[in-house]
Symmetry: C2
Subunit: 308 residues, 2 copies
């Protein structure tokens, strides 16, 4: 059973009734669980988080994209966040470490369907990208709706991966992708030395030659300092590896770790990764976790009567 | 949502058609997932593992006990394992660390129902016991079916917690309990020194004054030695604490840990416990784990139409 999360961003954060209809388009699919919804009026943008069996999640994503295309007119949209579509970005996130390829497949199938049935041009990004250049969402979305509207027919480099070589007059375009689950992970240190936290962040982050798939900054807290991190792929750099990297450098400066914390949600696979590394439990698999087994059985049973 | 596991043992391991009917009595309850079944002909005994929302699991346990009472005659039963009932022991196991009290409640309700509807005397054990003495299953089951048949009416100390003061003529009695999930956890050492593994096992196990809720023995492997452990309550002594206890003592003898391993299944809460201890993520909760959230939502939705 492929259990997948999807975290689409929609260009509407001021009219709750519109967001309600988009959520309804997602939640209508049996087997899909809506985990979270957040709207931001300044960005005029909403993020919906839902999960379930892969095919059901893809069906629900289509329902959300279709509702957004029906209800949002980008010509009337203003907000601080870059955007080029009514449904702007649709990332599929595998919850199990082996399911990235399945998520790429779901992204590609959804893209073909959005282009074919809704007439919206589609760009694949991150793991679902068809070229190295388009892995980067900023490249795909460059110039936003207004910029792409001009460039899409003139610049061969901006041609969509699926669909017509022109933006949808009201819904624009959509970026559909696959990526690993993000883990927001912080390690607090027993010191007020902000320079130490900043120097550790610089030393360990990918941008400055540190650990791959790790972003980090140093921050001051009320009761110490923090190395605040984003793990963009816990399969590459785990929470245990990130913790060890911070703890070792802090210890070299004579500073202890006070605590660490996960901000928001994390996939069970990240916990399995911690056990593998911190306890050298190299053979441990997610299939040994009772909740994972139960969820697989429940979803396999419940999906029998589900669409598509 | 209370997600509960139940691992009843039945006194039948030779007639698969009987075990099939018992499993059918369990699996008939909507929302219940049968995770495993194991039969042992020598012990003439079967262990069924199932899980789901608490009320559904209790209903399914009753179905299994009723089927066993209908199909098994203890007067005809022989096998190596101690037993005093057709359904011999019925433990409820919380998957979330906070749900032990709920499991005790399920055990007590099931006991009242088994006594009332099936006329079988019931003994509560472990966390569900009504007296300290009866926490111990061996005390409750002393003398087996044949012994209890004689003692139950004569010895006030053997009076059941629920039901008549005589064994059921064919189904005997049943022990119903609540206990933490067991984790079978081994740490392998980079040495052939079996004496070291045995001395570490002795030093860390509860029986000899070591860590609470930890059992341990030292074993020889093909490629080294192993401290083989059972964690009877990971909330008290976690996998991380057990690993650290072995690793520190091995290091003191100049020996490194090769790997550790979980045998069989483990609850997600045990993984959360590892992160809390090994990464000092003291505030981490299971509610932050995506799979746990999804399972709660799925079970809450799916249970609407289910029987209590």
């Amino acid at each position: 059973m492929t259990v997948v999360e999807c975290v689409p961003n929609f260009s509407e954060g001021r009219r709750p009734e519109v967001v309600d209809e988009i959520v309804a388009g997602i939640a209508a699919v049996p087997g899909v669980q809506v985990l979270d919804r957040q709207s931001d009026a300044t960005h005029n943008r909403s993020v919906i988080t839902f999960a379930g069996p892969g095919e059901a999640v893809a069906e629900a994503a289509f329902g959300g994209v279709a509702a957004a295309a029906r209800l949002i007119d980008l010509n009337l949209h203003e907000g601080a966040h870059p955007r080029f579509g009514a449904a702007d970005v649709v990332p599929f996130v595998p919850l199990k470490d082996d399911d990235m390829a399945a998520c790429v497949g779901l992204a590609r199938e959804l893209g073909a369907r959005v282009a074919g049935e809704l007439g919206i041009p589609v760009y694949f990004y991150e793991e679902a990208a068809r070229s190295e250049r388009r892995r980067n969402l900023a490249v795909v979305r460059e110039g936003g709706f207004e910029g792409l509207r001009e460039a899409i027919g003139r610049d061969a480099g901006r041609a969509p991966d699926e669909g017509p070589p022109r933006v949808h007059p009201k819904a624009g375009a959509v970026a559909i992708g696959a990526r690993a689950a993000l883990v927001a992970y912080n390690v607090d240190l027993e010191t007020d030395d902000l320079a130490l936290a900043k120097s550790i962040a610089t030393a360990i982050r990918e941008r400055d030659g540190g650990l791959p798939c790790l972003k980090a900054i140093g921050l001051a807290l009320d009761d110490g300092v923090q190395v605040s991190m984003n793990l963009t792929d816990h399969r590459v750099t785990s929470m245990a590896a990130a913790y060890a990297a911070v703890a070792e450098r802090a210890a070299a400066a004579g500073v202890a770790v006070r605590r660490s914390e996960v901000v928001g949600l994390l996939p069970e696979a990240a916990l399995v990764g911690i056990a593998r590394e911190a306890l050298r439990a190299t053979g441990l698999t997610q299939a040994q976790v009772l909740e994972s087994r139960i969820l697989d059985l429940v979803l396999a049973g419940g999906a029998e009567g589900a669409a598509p």
